[in-house]
């Protein structure tokens, strides 16, 4: 059996008792460029955050390369939404990309010459080398996203999670980023991209995960990206699930039994 890059097992996440992800189960093989697709508020970003242990989960577990996150953390890179950070922070483009060379252990040390070279190299891969000394607030949306991608490249990971990298950027940047992603895939990396544009999804990805609070389908894009599945994904939430969610929230009821 082929190794899975990501295995999500019965994952349930709730915010203040209101479930945003119900019993999600799927596996994705190594080396896929996967689109995580669903309408607004479907829990796509939450899914990534839950996998990366950035948000508490109510039940289930996830495995990366068949291991727990903490055992493979150095092989995983996560790219947050670009609006999640303060772009007025006193830092240059190069500063941000160099952050990709830090790991939790190496934070007490200075970066080595080799680390600095890798950062420069990654900046040139996203064609932002000319901007290396610019303050980050001077960048356009597409350029900001490319800086984030460069930082992720500098992490030299095997698996990449990207939260909405195509949101609010120009067409040229989008093309450039998708080329980089395809190149990364050629090098054997596994990439997961939260995406909401159905038009481009079919061209970009070779695997899709369709979610809307619950999992609709997961699999190779040709078999999974069907009109029927999309209708179900975008056809709204299941009324019964939403009602139950409201009930849990108003009564502060746990979605799993809590053991004292």
């Amino acid at each position: 059996m082929k190794l899975n890059s990501l295995e999500v097992h019965d994952l349930t996440v709730s915010y203040q008792h209101n479930p945003v992800l119900w019993n999600i189960n799927f596996n994705v093989p190594v080396g896929k460029l996967t689109g995580i697709i669903g309408p607004n508020g479907a829990g796509k970003s939450t899914l990534l955050k839950a996998i990366m242990d950035l948000t508490p989960i109510s039940g289930g577990y996830t495995k990366l390369f068949d291991k727990a996150l903490d055992d493979v953390r150095s092989r995983i890179a996560y790219v947050p939404q670009k609006d999640a950070v303060d772009w007025d922070f006193p830092a240059t483009v190069l500063d941000v990309v160099q952050m990709g060379r830090y790991s939790n252990k190496s934070l007490f040390r200075r970066l080595s010459k080799k680390d600095e070279d890798i950062a420069i190299d990654c900046l040139s891969k996203v064609e932002m080398l000319d901007y290396s000394d610019r303050h980050i607030s001077e960048l356009s949306g597409g350029q900001k996203q490319r800086v984030f991608i460069a930082r992720a490249l500098a992490q030299e990971a095997d698996l990449y999670f990207m939260d909405e990298p195509f949101a609010g950027i120009d067409a040229a940047s989008e093309k450039q980023i998708i080329d980089i992603l395809l190149q990364m895939q050629k090098e054997g990396k596994s990439i997961f991209v939260v995406h909401h544009d159905l038009q481009s999804a079919i061209d970009y990805f070779d695997w899709v995960v369709l979610v809307n609070t619950r999992l609709i389908a997961s699999g190779p894009i040709k078999e999974t990206f069907t009109t029927e599945n999309l209708k179900e994904t975008y056809g709204g939430k299941l009324t019964l699930l939403s009602k139950l969610g409201q009930e849990l929230k108003s009564k502060k009821f746990p979605i799993r039994e809590e053991y004292q």
Partner: protein, 432 residues
């Protein structure tokens, strides 16, 4: 002259008391400035006020329990109640609908009121040691003794060791906390370290600047420094230096009149630096104003030049040039300003004066033609790509013509080809 003598005496290190005060202030100002960088960048400036104000009840309890004004007990008490405040704010905002700003306000006012009541109780105990306890409200640097210096200096030293050690943790957590967590940095630990640093800095500062004003000492240097640099490390260094210099100036002023508290003078000095920074820093108000004025002048000059060119193109058919009055008739600006602009164009060699009439030099003609060309090409561009009717394109082109760089001009020419006429059937001048 007396001021000068006092100044030299103050900084001569001959007086042991003053030396204590100087060293203490220097350490405190630096520490407060540097820690302030973390606070301002984590956008938690409100919490400092809560921390400092809520130290008062702890200080009073420390005094009641020990019965002496030993700074160690007072500081331990103060830090304990400040820690309680941080904990309360966190729990209230996490567990109830009350938002963080309201939680800060509630905690601050309750603990501070409690502290003021206790201060009154202490003052009525008749314990002779209590005199001077209310100096903690506005600070009295002059009262710093050798043992105080050891304690406060020690607190500052903890800051000086912790900041470089966790420097990179702070940098990535403050810029992108989610990314920091994704590589395994524990958010709670970093936040706790930052809170701890704020608490010990505030504790170290209460004797010098007092509970009420210590927050300004932490926030002001960092806020001012951020206006001067785009580098995290440099922000921290500038902030430390600003904090140190301003505190010493403040302490010196209050030394001149011993009845005055130190805190307000330190804060007034810091405020002056902040105001100057807002005005004079690279992105400051003054620079912006100058840029606006410069733009206005250059637009006027280009418009005057263009008018001379157009008058020659259309109205004046002879070769004698145009008078100042004629140019002014075609510009909505005051004639005084038009005159100034013409003089400037003359100095730049774009126009020459013969008798009462202005004529364009060759260089001037080229420049005027460039402006007219950009204007007319832009009108065409708007018509073609933004589908604007021809009577709508002039006003936009009127301002665009002054900002188009040679690079944009080249692309504009490339996109539009080399059309002969603009939307108003006027000839577009090209370089020969």
């Amino acid at each position: 002259m007396i001021l000068w003598e006092q100044l030299t005496y103050f900084f001569s290190f001959r007086d042991a008391n003053i030396t204590n005060v100087l060293i203490g202030t220097l350490l405190l100002g630096t520490a407060a400035g540097m820690v302030g960088t973390l606070v301002v960048l984590s956008k938690k400036t409100l919490i400092i006020d809560a921390i400092s104000h809520s130290m008062l009840p702890g200080i009073c309890i420390g005094f009641l329990l020990s019965g002496v004004k030993n700074p160690l007990y007072l500081m331990l008490g103060g830090m304990a109640s400040a820690t309680l405040a941080v904990f309360l704010i966190g729990e209230i905002s996490k567990r109830s609908k009350i938002k963080i700003d309201a939680a800060i306000a509630i905690t601050l006012s309750i603990l501070f009121s409690f502290g003021v009541i206790m201060l009154n109780v202490v003052q009525n105990t008749g314990n002779p040691n209590q005199s001077g306890l209310n100096d903690f409200l506005f600070g009295k640097a002059a009262s710093m003794l050798q043992e105080d210096l050891l304690l406060f200096g020690g607190l500052c030293l903890i800051t000086f060791i912790t900041l470089p050690l966790f420097f990179r943790h702070f940098k990535i957590s403050l810029f992108d906390p989610i990314f920091a967590q994704s590589i395994g940095v524990k958010r709670f630990i970093i936040q706790s370290i930052i809170s701890f640093l704020i608490i010990i800095t505030a504790a170290a500062g209460v004797q010098t600047v007092g509970i009420i004003l210590i927050s300004a000492m932490i926030i002001a240097p960092a806020s001012a420094s951020l206006l001067w640099t785009n580098n995290f490390k440099r922000t921290m260094i500038y902030s430390g230096v600003t904090g140190a210099v301003c505190s010493i100036v403040g302490v010196f002023i209050s030394y001149l009149s011993p009845k005055m508290p130190t805190g307000p003078w330190v804060v007034v000095t810091l405020a002056s630096v902040s105001i100057l920074s807002v005005l004079f820093s690279p992105n400051g108000l003054l620079v912006k104003q100058l840029q606006i004025r410069k733009n206005r002048k250059s637009i006027l000059r280009e418009n005057v030049l263009k008018t001379v060119y157009k008058l020659k193109e259309k109205i004046i058919k002879n070769n004698q040039g145009v008078s100042t009055e004629l140019v002014s008739n075609y510009r909505p600006t005051a004639i005084r300003k038009v005159k100034k602009a013409l003089k400037h164009l003359q100095r730049k060699g774009l126009i020459v004066k013969g008798g009462d009439f202005w004529t364009l030099t060759e260089h001037g003609t080229q420049e005027a033609e460039r402006i007219v060309r950009v204007h007319r090409l832009w009108e065409l561009y708007l018509q073609k790509f933004m589908h604007l009717p021809s009577d709508y394109v002039h006003n936009s082109a009127e301002s665009i013509e002054h900002i188009v760089t040679p690079e944009i001009e080249r692309s504009l020419e490339k996109i539009m080809g080399k059309p002969e006429l603009d939307p108003h059937q006027q000839k577009i001048p090209y370089q020969k």
